[in-house]
């Protein structure tokens, strides 16, 4: 067992983990943050996506010990002061979710995508960047719409701030 310490959603946390413990299991089982999901065993589906030091990663293929010392953001930490993050709000407004199981990973991927591309997102780019996230309910139609809507709103927000 190894003691790991990291910051999760702004709070410093520690725990004893086996060397083989995956970050997703540390988050779900040790921290009780069950919004991050496991949908496959092969790093394909993206239900487990969280941010590590500001970049999206698959927490099912990251060991908990690899995340020691890092800043982790999970879906539970995205909304601030009870207000949905613009990506969360756009998923709701555009019906970008149905069963909700892939949703946390989709939203975390989308936030990172918008951060990386800024205002340069178009439908083709969004679809290509969703390669690592599988949804079985929506046919992606409304997810793509939601991400483009959120990107537009966040871009407008940034412009207004500048």
């Amino acid at each position: 067992m190894t003691k790991v310490t990291m910051t999760v959603n702004g709070r410093q946390v520690s725990g004893e983990v086996e060397d083989r413990t995956l970050l997703v299991h540390f988050i779900r089982d040790k921290l009780g943050l069950t919004g991050t999901h496991v949908g496959c065993d092969t790093s394909q589906c993206g239900a487990c996506v969280v941010h590590m030091d500001g970049r999206s990663i698959k927490s099912c293929s990251t060991l908990a010990v690899q995340a020691a010392g890092s800043e982790i953001l999970t879906i539970e930490g995205l909304a601030k002061d009870g207000e949905l993050h613009p990506v969360q709000a756009a998923f709701k407004a555009n019906h970008g979710l149905q069963c909700g199981f892939c949703t946390p990973g989709m939203v975390m991927t989308a936030v990172d995508m918008i951060n990386r591309y800024g205002g340069r997102l178009d439908e083709k780019t969004v679809r290509e960047n969703l390669e690592g996230n599988i949804c079985r309910c929506t046919g992606y139609h409304n997810i793509v719409k939601a991400i483009l809507a959120a990107a537009a709103e966040m871009g407008a927000g940034r412009q207004a701030a500048e």
């Binding site: 086996e18 991050t36 999901h37 065993d41 909700g100 083709k124 679809r127 046919g139 992606y140 139609h141």
Partner: protein
């Protein structure tokens, strides 16, 4: 309609919890003392179990127990069953072999469970499961249903000689159908293969069994589309516990698509193991287990003859289908290639003679059962590929051939049981062709040719039967249960409302749609309406969600209960206002005397019902009503899908450049949610046609597509955005005029896509999934 009423695009109430990580799925449940189950599964497709030695496993760290099928048998746990009886055409009942929750004598497919390890952690349970030594005597296996019917093949169950479960027929007599075909001016003949699929809801199955020895009571959290049916079957057939001692909870469930209708070995074993060990036991499937053990869908091989007279009218249809059932008969399996398939073989067409013959066959593969559409995609694919082929052979336009044969007056009795109540197939066809700019296709094709691309267009006109189903009718056809739905409407003393429903939402948005129904009726905000579902302790009884039945059947039950609540509320209001109850109307959250300014607010009527200080003479206090709704007929959603593709002849890669869906779902409560259902269904249909396929090695019976590395799930960049529209002929047989929308996309899309690809490449000899390799080969076979 009001901002939140029927027809409004209301954003979903349930979204906030899913978007903020507060959804509560079965694997999220943690209870004190909980331990973890890992199953020991057969690595062989067919084998005798000589012995199971768990002595080393039991010594491993953290292990509580290793349990096997002999112990399960000794404790009196019953066989898994198929709940629908089909009789062969010779009158004999279907031949159901025994399915043990833990196999103790014979394993019949790779993944068949033989033992379970209960340990402190999943990791420790996995480590110990690796140490369980099962001595197998391997037997030859067969995975393909056509082969399994041949003489000399491995036999799966002693009950089913030749692996034949039933040999069933429906419709016009074979002789009359043959005579019509013999007399035809043209006959189109095809072999149609409907590929085997894995449903793949993103949430893997899971179960948490909790035995309370003090109360001798069991609780089961499970990923179910129908928790009440799970409780019923586990009580009545598996002998887990009597119904009053068994609570089944299906909390948030991450998609189902049919695969979570059935009761599987794992939830039974978790409940039983909890009693044996005295600790709560949780099992969560990993994705490979899901591929191995979730019920698969489709897997039909058919031959079809479609006969035409000299005026191109269809005179007869003859279909012979072999359906692969896998190693065991899953809960609804028997109904899928019979009453959910052959009954839809008339499609949208007036066909005077239809004869269907279906043989159901055991093979050494995972059980096969209903998957989104269940039988109707198979019927539609067969019909729509065949009529498209006929149009090519006859040299007429595919739209004109369909038009000529459309059913145009309703009700319409088909030769295969169904009585269509309403529809306007021409309207959907026209809307789709207009939306797709069918007339401009030739120009687009010519332009694509200049770029070296082969462009094709294809259509499909589907019909399906939803809203399952009239209980007496399905009972006469072999169903073991009635297919009504229940609802209870509880108005609280302050006027807020709880609706308890036997439907189960696992993505369909019931918490919003059902609340809209109540808001529409009583003028209360949807935030004041809570939908309660998925818990057998809260909702008395229900039949669950599948077959696009929650709108047509589940909401109809709510309407019946709302009618009763409204009647009582009006009586109370009339009494309070000293008016005649027939003059009371409900508007904007108030009960008013029509044509006057007298009114009482909704909450005051509710409060009066519970204070009971001033009720009409003889009236019981309270405002709570329940109802059971049993449909009088199936509903018949229908529509037209058009797909346009471009194929790169160098790579065989298909690009979908346009996908148009024109659906008639009857009346719609929330168009945003309905469109979402269509999008998802189309994606699954495109997945079937272009990408997905379950493959077993025919010699070893090993599953070759057991992960997302091998099974091609549709990704965002495989799909286009969809153009979706609705036409509406309201269903005349339920109070809301709803037909259902959950499966249409998966039913209508595969033939539209395959018709488009075969149109593009000029070669009709192509099976699903149309992978680049197959398409490339088909392109080059024509040159």
């Amino acid at each position: 309609m009001g901002a939140e009423g029927i027809g409004a695009r209301v954003a979903r109430k349930e979204d906030k919890r899913f978007l903020t990580g507060k959804g509560r799925y079965t694997d999220d449940m943690v209870v004190p003392g909980m331990k973890y189950a890992v199953f020991v599964r057969s690595p062989h497709a067919h084998a005798k179990i000589r012995s199971i030695d768990a002595s080393e496993a039991e010594k491993m760290p953290g292990v509580i127990a290793v349990l096997n099928g002999q112990q399960l048998l000794a404790d009196g746990i019953g066989n898994l069953i198929c709940g629908w009886m089909i009789h062969s055409k010779d009158g004999s009942p279907m031949k159901m072999g025994a399915w043990r929750p833990l196999a103790h004598e014979t394993v019949r497919y790779v993944g068949d469970a033989v033992a379970v390890v209960i340990a402190d952690s999943v990791g420790e349970a996995r480590d110990a499961a690796d140490q369980v030594v099962v001595d197998y005597e391997e037997l030859p296996a067969v995975t393909d249903a056509v082969t399994a019917l041949q003489p000399g093949q491995p036999q799966l169950h002693p009950e089913a000689a030749g692996n034949l479960i039933y040999d069933w027929a429906l419709g016009t007599s074979e002789a009359d159908t043959d005579a019509a075909i013999a007399a035809a001016a043209h006959v189109t003949e095809m072999k149609i293969v409907n590929n085997r699929l894995s449903p793949n809801p993103m949430e893997p199955r899971a179960a948490l069994g909790i035995y309370d020895s003090a109360e001798d009571h069991y609780t089961c959290y499970t990923t179910s589309q129908n928790p009440h049916v799970a409780r019923l079957v586990m009580s009545a057939f598996y002998n887990v516990a009597p119904e009053n001692k068994l609570r089944v909870i299906a909390p948030d469930v991450g998609g189902g698509f049919g695969s979570k209708i059935y009761i599987y070995p794992e939830e039974i074993v978790c409940l039983w193991a909890s009693r044996r060990t005295g600790v709560p036991v949780k099992w969560t499937s990993d994705r490979t287990e899901a591929f191995l053990t979730d019920a698969h869908g489709r897997d039909h091989v058919s031959t079809v003859k479609m006969a035409f007279d000299s005026d191109n009218r269809i005179t007869a249809l003859k279909v012979d289908t072999i359906a692969n059932f896998g190693a065991y008969m899953s809960l609804f399996s028997a109904a899928v290639p019979t009453y959910l398939y052959a009954t839809l073989l008339s499609g949208q067409y007036a066909i005077p003679a239809i004869h269907a013959n279906v043989r159901a066959v055991y093979t050494n593969t995972a059980p096969v059962d209903a998957y989104r559409g269940a039988g109707r995609p198979e019927a539609t694919y067969l019909l729509e590929r065949t009529i498209e082929t006929a149009a090519r052979e006859l040299g007429v336009s595919p739209a004109e051939l369909r038009r000529k044969n459309f059913i145009r007056s309703f009700p319409y009795q088909t030769p295969v049981i169904m009585n269509y109540d309403a529809g306007d197939y021409e309207a959907s066809l026209e809307a789709a062709m207009k939306q797709a700019d069918w007339a401009g296709f030739a120009t687009r094709k010519a332009e694509a040719e200049k770029r070296g691309k082969k462009r094709g267009i294809g259509m499909s006109c589907y019909i399906e039967a939803c809203g399952i189903a009239p209980s007496a009718a399905v009972g006469s056809l072999g169903a073991g249960v009635g297919l009504w739905e229940s609802a209870e409407v509880r108005v609280n003393a302050v006027g807020t409302i709880e609706v308890l429903t036997g439907s189960h939402s696992h993505g369909q948005g019931h918490e919003t749609t059902f609340a809209q129904l109540v808001a529409d009726r009583f003028g209360v905000p949807i935030d004041n309406v809570s939908i309660v579902h998925g818990d057998t302790d809260k909702v008395q009884m229900g039949m669950g969600t599948y077959g696009s039945r929650s709108g047509a059947v589940g909401m109809s039950a709510i309407v019946k209960a709302l009618d009763k609540v409204e009647a009582k509320a009006k009586k109370i209001a009339a009494h309070l206002m000293e008016a005649d109850e027939s003059d009371v109307v409900i508007e904007n959250g108030e009960l008013k005397v029509a044509g006057t300014d007298r009114s009482v607010p909704w909450f005051q009527v509710a409060l009066s019902a519970y204070t009971a200080h001033n009720l009409p003479a003889g009236m019981e206090p309270g405002l709570k009503e329940g109802a059971f709704y049993d449909p009088s007929n199936f509903t018949f959603p229908a529509g037209c899908y058009i797909c346009e593709v471009e194929i790169d002849p160098e790579t065989g890669k298909t690009e979908i450049v346009q996908f148009v869906a024109a659906d008639d779902f009857g009346n719609i409560i929330n168009p945003m949610i309905v469109e979402g259902q269509v999008h998802g269904g189309i994606a699954q249909g495109i997945g079937q046609a272009l990408l997905e396929g379950v493959h077993y090695d025919p010699q070893s019976g090993q599953l070759l597509t057991a992960s997302y590395m091998d099974y091609a799930m549709p990704r965002a960049d495989d799909l286009p955005s969809f153009q979706v529209s609705h036409q509406n002929t309201p269903c005349p047989n339920n109070p809301l005029g709803i037909k259902g929308c959950g499966e249409a996309g998966a039913i209508g899309s595969p033939p539209a896509l395959m018709n488009a690809i075969t149109d593009a490449i000029g070669n009709n000899d192509l099976t699903m999934p149309a992978t680049p390799q197959k398409v490339w080969a088909a392109v080059h076979a024509t040159h």
